[in-house]
C-alpha cells in the first residue's frame, strides 16, 4: 500500500466527513454521550472507593467505661491496651471531655447539657489500630480480647463499612452491566448512522469498484471516518466530564456542610485513556460492521 494511496484514502475520509457533517456529528455525539455516562459512573465509583479506603485505613475502636470504674483503673486499662501490638494509639476521654466535645460539635444544647450535669456522657477509650487490622474479623477478634467487665459497650463501626463495601461491589457489578448495555446501544446507533453515510455514497462506491477500486480503497476511508468520530466523541466526553467535575466541586464549595467533599477527584489518567480507547474502538468497530454489512449486500 503506497503512501500516495493512503493520501487518497485520507482525503476521501476527510471529504466524506465534511460532506456528511450532520450524520458524523450525530455519531460523534452518540459516542460522546455514552462515554460521558461511563465516565460519570467512573467518577462516582472512584470517589466512593477512595472514601471507603480511607475509612478502612482509619481503624478505630471505642470502649465505654461503666460509671463505677474509678480514674486509676481507667488509666491502668488505657496503658494495658496501649501495650498491645495491634494498637497504635489510645486516648482517654473523660466524661467532661466528652461533654465539651459535644458542646463544640452541636450548637444550641448548652442549657440542656448544663441541666443534665457533668456525667451525661460516659468516659471512654478511643483506640487507633494498625492499618493491617482493617478487616472486620480482625477487629472483632481484637474487641473480644479487651472485653473487660469495666466496659459497658464497645463500638468499632466496621459493620456498616462492611455493608457499604458490599453496596460498592454491587454498584461495580451493576455499573459494568449498564456500561456494557450503553456500549452495545451506542455501537448499534453508530453502526446505523455510518450505514446511512455509506448508503449516501453507494453510487460512488459502485463506480469506484467498476474502475478497479480494491476492497481496502472502499473500506478504509469509512474506517478512518469512524475512528475520527470516536476520537472526537471521546475528547468531547472527557471535556464534558471535566466541566461536570469542576462545576460539581464549585457547587460543593459553596455549601458549608459539603465543603469536606471538595477534594472530589477527577477520573485517573489510566481511565481517561481507557475512555479514549473505548471511543476509538467504538467508532472503528461500528464503521467496520456497517461497511462489511453494506459490501455483503451489494456484493
Amino acid at each position: 500500500m503506497s503512501l500516495t494511496f493512503l493520501q487518497h484514502i485520507f482525503r476521501r475520509a476527510t471529504r466524506s466527513i465534511w460532506e456528511n457533517l450532520y450524520l458524523n456529528a450525530v455519531s460523534a455525539s452518540v459516542i460522546g454521550a455514552s462515554l460521558i455516562l461511563l465516565g460519570l459512573y467512573s467518577l462516582v465509583q472512584n470517589n466512593l472507593s477512595t472514601v471507603i479506603d480511607s475509612w478502612n485505613k482509619d481503624v478505630h475502636v471505642s470502649v465505654y467505661f461503666a460509671d463505677d470504674v474509678d480514674e486509676e483503673r481507667r488509666l491502668e486499662l488505657r496503658d494495658k491496651i496501649h501495650g498491645m501490638s495491634e494498637v497504635i494509639q489510645v486516648r482517654y476521654v473523660s466524661e467532661v471531655d466528652a461533654k465539651n466535645w459535644m458542646l463544640e460539635e452541636v450548637s444550641g444544647i448548652e442549657d440542656t447539657l448544663k441541666e443534665l450535669g457533668d456525667n451525661i456522657l460516659p468516659a471512654s477509650l478511643e483506640i487507633t489500630l494498625d492499618a493491617q487490622m482493617a478487616h472486620p474479623k480482625r477487629i472483632e477478634e481484637f474487641a473480644s480480647k479487651i472485653d473487660y467487665d469495666d466496659f459497658v459497650a464497645t463500638d468499632y463501626g466496621v459493620e456498616w463499612v462492611d455493608k457499604f463495601n458490599a453496596f460498592l461491589r454491587m454498584f461495580q457489578a451493576l455499573g459494568t452491566f449498564v456500561g456494557l448495555l450503553i456500549i452495545i446501544a451506542a455501537m448499534f446507533l453508530v453502526t446505523n448512522t455510518v450505514h446511512l453515510v455509506i448508503y449516501n455514497r453507494r453510487n460512488e462506491i459502485e463506480i469506484a469498484k467498476l474502475v478497479g477500486a480494491t476492497k481496502s480503497f472502499v473500506v478504509l476511508p469509512f474506517l478512518i471516518e469512524g475512528t475520527i468520530q470516536g476520537l472526537i466523541g471521546a475528547l468531547g466526553a472527557l471535556t464534558g466530564l471535566w466541566v461536570i467535575h469542576r462545576t460539581l466541586v464549585n457547587q460543593l464549595q459553596q455549601h458549608e456542610t459539603l465543603k469536606m467533599m471538595t477534594d472530589l477527584s477527577f477520573i485517573p489518567v489510566g481511565q481517561q485513556l481507557l475512555l479514549l480507547f473505548i471511543g476509538l474502538t467504538l467508532g472503528l468497530m461500528a464503521a467496520l460492521i456497517a461497511t462489511l454489512r453494506f459490501l455483503r449486500k451489494v456484493g
Binding site: S2, F5, A208, L210, G212, A213, T214, K215
Partner: protein, 217 residues
C-alpha cells in the same frame, strides 16, 4: 485479447446466454449487437466480471475469468475501461475528479492524475472542463467524460454498453469518432449497440446475438 469457449449463463431457469464462443483480437473494433433482451449486456457484464458464467471458459486480457477470485476482480477492472449508457458519473465530483478516480484507485500521485486528466480531456474534445460538475454538461459531453475516465489508465480493452443510447444523432457520431480514435491508438474496443445506422456509418465486425445465442460471429 478476448476468448470465450462454450459460455452459458443462466439466471435461475432463464437462459441468458447459450453456448457462446468467439474471439476478439488485440486492437480490433467490434460490435456486440442484437435486439433488446438478446444478451448483449449480459455478455459485457461477463467480460468485466460483474457476473460469472454458469459454465464455459472466458479469457479477458490474459485472465481466466472462470477461475477469477473475488479479490482479483479489481486487477481485471484496472486493465479494462468501461463506458455505460447512463454514463455513471458521480454528480458531487467535478469532471476532473470523476476522470481521475480510475487513477486514484491504483494510488497514482495527484500531480500525475491532474496531468493525465488534461490529456484525456483533450482526446475527447473537452479541454479545460475539469472543474465543472457533470450536471453542467450536455448528455454528449457527459458521455465523453465517461470515455475519458475509461481510457485514462491506458486500458488494453474498452467495453462500451450502448454508449450512444441516450444521445442524439450528431452527439452519437461524435462519441463514435472518439471510440474510433481510441481504437486507432491500439485499444481493443467492444461496443454493445442495436443502432443499425451507426453500425452502417462505422462499419466494423459484428457479433450478433438473438435469444442468448450467437447468430453471427
Amino acid at each position: 485479447m478476448i476468448r470465450l469457449y462454450n459460455v452459458h449463463k443462466n439466471y435461475g431457469q432463464h437462459v441468458a446466454l447459450r453456448d457462446v464462443s468467439f474471439t476478439v483480437s488485440k486492437g480490433e473494433f467490434c460490435y456486440i449487437t442484437g435486439p433488446s433482451g438478446a444478451g448483449k449486456t449480459t455478455m459485457l457484464k461477463l467480460l468485466y466480471g460483474a457476473i460469472q458464467p454458469t459454465t464455459g471458459q472466458l479469457q479477458v486480457a490474459g485472465m481466466n475469468l472462470s477461475l477469477l477470485k473475488k479479490n482479483q476482480l479489481p486487477l481485471l477492472r484496472q486493465q479494462i475501461g468501461i463506458v455505460f449508457q447512463d454514463f455513471k458519473l458521480i454528480p458531487t465530483r467535478t469532471v476532473g475528479e470523476n476522470i481521475g478516480l480510475a487513477l486514484e484507485v491504483i494510488g497514482t500521485p495527484r500531480h500525475l492524475i491532474e496531468r493525465r486528466v488534461q490529456a484525456v480531456l483533450n482526446i475527447v474534445g473537452l479541454p479545460g472542463r475539469d472543474h465543472l460538475y457533470p450536471a453542467y454538461l450536455s448528455g454528449g459531453e457527459q458521455q465523453r467524460v465517461a470515455i475519458a475516465r475509461a481510457i485514462i489508465n491506458d486500458p488494453s480493452i474498452l467495453l462500451a454498453d450502448e454508449p450512444t443510447g441516450n444521445l442524439d444523432g450528431a452527439m452519437a457520431v461524435a462519441v463514435m469518432d472518439i471510440l474510433q480514435k481510441i481504437n486507432l491508438r491500439g485499444t481493443t474496443v467492444l461496443v454493445a449497440t442495436h443502432d443499425a445506422a451507426l453500425m452502417k456509418r462505422f462499419p466494423y465486425r459484428c457479433i450478433r446475438f438473438r435469444n442468448g445465442q450467437l447468430e453471427k460471429r
